[in-house]
């Protein structure tokens, strides 16, 4: 054998060995219960595939900034990113994500809930696989509702919610009829109020991208929200986000709380919640206009286009978002802890039907349509946001105006006037 042949043989062997070599995947993710649980079960993935995983866990807003910087510069710091419904269609349109249209038959992509699949796809192609999904719903205190002499219907109206909240309020004993998000931010109060406005017939922009914050529907939305919170909300509500309201509810200070369905497992956990056995669930309210006020969100796993480890990354996604993982969690931590809202088959599973909030979560998710979110038509995708790059900045600015109105620093109509000016400026600058 000549030296050249020997080198060729060695190279071929090396390439073969390289192809079979286990990869180290770097995954950026958020810090929440389901994601942390997945980190603890990663050994199962390593055993099955030989690939190992390095986790970069960050707070949601830090993660968003971090992965946006990396993907927009083709940095290659991550092989898999945890992203939401807002980023997916925008990044897919920029060719920043690897399409997930060639996942195995065993994975059964058709099992993904249609609403989730729609929100994580662009032109019918899936770009991010949902790890878990959520909507929003009413969580209420059954004992306080009974004491108020009222009965919560499965699908309440805003009028009923208003009446019940005022009836349940006992400010002297620090019981507040309703707790809603007031903290400024596109993912905080702007998300809640945009979803709420859908049920009042409002929309962010019309079909021609003209902002609609000066509409009567928006005025009705914001005035109803502020009046309700002034009458039946907790003090300092303009700084309350998910965690603050969760804390109030768990301590028995909220009669009703309209927020993410994922909160159901927290408020019914007797280790953390003082009212765990007195919680009921209902769909987010409507106004009889055909749209409810619940949002739709998913934390999903996507592969940045620049990664060198695409095949291994797809193996991980199939493992983490497949049905096998759900069974793995159920086996280790019980059915109440499996990641909800992603797969149809989960809600057909007899074991999962025993979880008290399972059906209401599914009904909430199914009642949200990101491609048709409002009473009148809109040109954007998204229920509680518009999936355009400008929304994050614009939504946060508008959220500050709404928060200031809730704090009593300005009227609802003044806040809407400013919101209209902000949105008009953004839309014109961006050339819509």
């Amino acid at each position: 054998m000549t030296l050249r042949n020997a080198l060729c043989a060695a190279t071929a062997l090396g390439l073969f060995a390289g192809g079979a070599t286990a990869e180290i995947l770097t995954i950026a993710t958020v810090n929440n219960g389901d994601m942390i649980r997945m980190q603890g079960l990663t050994d199962d993935f390593t055993e099955k595939t030989g690939h190992t995983v390095e986790w970069v866990t960050l707070e949601e807003n830090v993660l968003r900034q971090r992965v946006t910087t990396d993907i927009s510069t083709n940095g290659g710091a991550f092989d898999i990113m945890t992203i939401g419904m807002y980023e997916t269609p925008i990044w897919a349109a920029n060719d920043w994500l690897v399409p997930l249209d060639d996942l195995s038959d065993e994975y059964n992509a058709d099992d993904i809930l249609p609403a989730m699949r729609g929100g994580l796809s662009l032109d019918g192609t899936l770009y991010a696989a949902p790890f878990y999904g959520e909507s929003s719903m009413v969580m209420y205190r059954t004992d306080l509702m009974e004491a108020a002499g009222m009965e919560m219907p499965d699908a309440p109206t805003w009028e009923f919610i208003g009446e019940a909240a005022r009836a349940m309020t006992d400010k002297e004993n620090e019981i507040y009829g309703i707790c809603l998000r007031g903290k400024a931010g596109w993912g905080e109060n702007a998300a809640f109020l945009t979803a709420m406005s859908n049920s009042f017939g409002a929309r962010i922009v019309d079909e021609n991208w003209v902002p609609q914050y000066d509409s009567e529907a928006w005025s009705n939305t914001l005035n109803f929200y502020i009046d309700l919170m002034n009458d039946a909300g907790p003090p300092g509500a303009s700084t309350n986000g998910f965690n603050e309201n969760l804390s109030l509810f768990q301590q028995g200070k909220c009669g009703m709380w309209i927020d993410a369905t994922v909160a159901a497992s927290f408020v019914t956990n007797p280790n953390d919640s003082t009212v765990a056995d007195k919680v009921g669930f209902a769909l987010a309210p409507d106004n009889g206009l055909g749209k409810r006020s619940n949002w739709l969100w998913a934390w999903a796993l996507a592969i940045p286009a620049g990664t060198q480890k695409e095949a291994a990354a797809k193996e991980f996604i199939e493992w983490a978002t497949g049905t096998g993982y759900i069974e793995l969690v159920a086996e280790n931590e019980g059915w109440a802890n499996v990641p909800p809202g992603a797969r149809t088959s989960l809600y057909e599973n007899a074991n999962y039907k025993d979880v008290p909030f399972a059906q209401m979560t599914l009904d909430s998710i199914l009642s949200a349509d990101p491609n048709n979110p409002t009473v009148d038509p809109v040109p954007y995708i998204g229920v509680q946001f518009a999936a355009i790059p400008e929304w994050a900045g614009m939504g946060s600015e508008i959220g500050q105006e709404f928060s200031a109105a809730l704090a009593g620093q300005q009227t609802a109509d003044e806040a809407l006037e400013k919101a209209q000016a902000i949105a008009t400026d953004v839309m014109e600058s961006a050339g819509y």
Binding site: A28, N31, G33, N74, A77, N243
Partner: protein
């Protein structure tokens, strides 16, 4: 009588100083206390101060979930490296400005400080792209250099202030005795400015240890320091305050201990030349 008034005044001053000190330290104390509570106790209203069932469960969970030592080691390398490199560059720079000033020295000092006025996010993309080009993304070397550059104006300013307090005649005498420039800086100037240099080192080590913008944005799994360790326990959807407090306590403990033992040196350095 006059002595009694003085003693009363002293006691009052001491009480005021302790009150202010405790007020400043209270958030840290509260974080430490919360780290020993359960998640339910951490959010209880009214809050519990000392009388609760103390638990080490949060520390156990944090240890199990994260490789603390790797984060700690990265913090030590990044904060220590950037501070040492900064002082090595700043000592000659401050010497020249203090003892051989030109007409532009004041302008240069002000210009150096003005670089601190630029919001860091304004140069995030250029620096990120440079790191990608040089293959230094998620590396400790990149952070050592960047944090050194960020803190260099403060190091130069501090050393310049300390050096200005040293009489130039002493250096002149050394020169007359035949000391070279290197010997003058190393064997005459540096020993005299040890308190100042020590406090500069300490302060910049603390600044680099706590720096959270660049350390979060330029790292992933390999070079992430303790700031990233803390960030991994913060969550807008879920009450994990007790675990976050345990992670924060573990992150600040080394720097707190270092500060505690070196407080005398730090105060001496910071008041160096204050009273002539």
């Amino acid at each position: 009588m006059a002595r009694a008034v003085t003693n009363n005044r002293k006691a009052l001053n001491t009480a005021i100083a302790w009150t202010i000190g405790l007020l400043i330290f209270f958030p840290i104390l509260w974080t430490i206390l919360t780290s020993f509570k359960t998640e339910a106790q951490a959010i209880s209203d009214p809050p519990v101060f000392l009388f609760f069932d103390w638990t080490l469960e949060n520390y156990s969970i944090v240890q199990e979930r994260s490789n603390y030592m790797r984060f700690l080691w990265n913090s030590v390398i990044i904060a220590g490296g950037s501070t040492l490199l900064g002082v090595m560059i700043a000592v000659p720079a401050a010497w020249s400005m203090a003892f051989v000033p030109s007409r532009r020295t004041k302008d240069i000092l002000l210009w150096m400080l003005s670089t601190k006025m630029l919001p860091a996010v304004g140069v995030l993309y250029p620096i990120y792209l440079i790191c990608i080009e040089l293959g230094l993304l998620d590396s400790r070397i990149a952070l050592v250099v960047i944090l050194m550059l960020i803190n260099l104006p403060i190091i130069v300013w501090m050393l310049y202030t300390y050096f200005k307090e040293i009489p130039g005649e002493i250096l002149e005498a050394a020169r007359m005795d035949g000391a070279s420039l290197k010997e003058e800086i190393l064997y005459v100037l540096t020993p005299m400015a040890v308190p100042g240099i020590a406090s500069t080192l300490l302060l910049n080590f603390i600044l680099a240890w706590n720096e959270a913008f660049w350390t979060l944005n330029l790292t992933a799994a390999k070079a992430a320091p303790l700031t990233a360790f803390i960030a991994s326990y913060s969550s807008p959807e879920g009450l994990f305050y007790a675990k976050l407090s345990a992670a924060s306590t573990m992150a600040i403990a080394p720097i707190l201990i270092l500060g505690w033992f070196s407080q005398k040196q730090l105060v001496r350095g910071l008041t160096f030349g204050a009273v002539k």
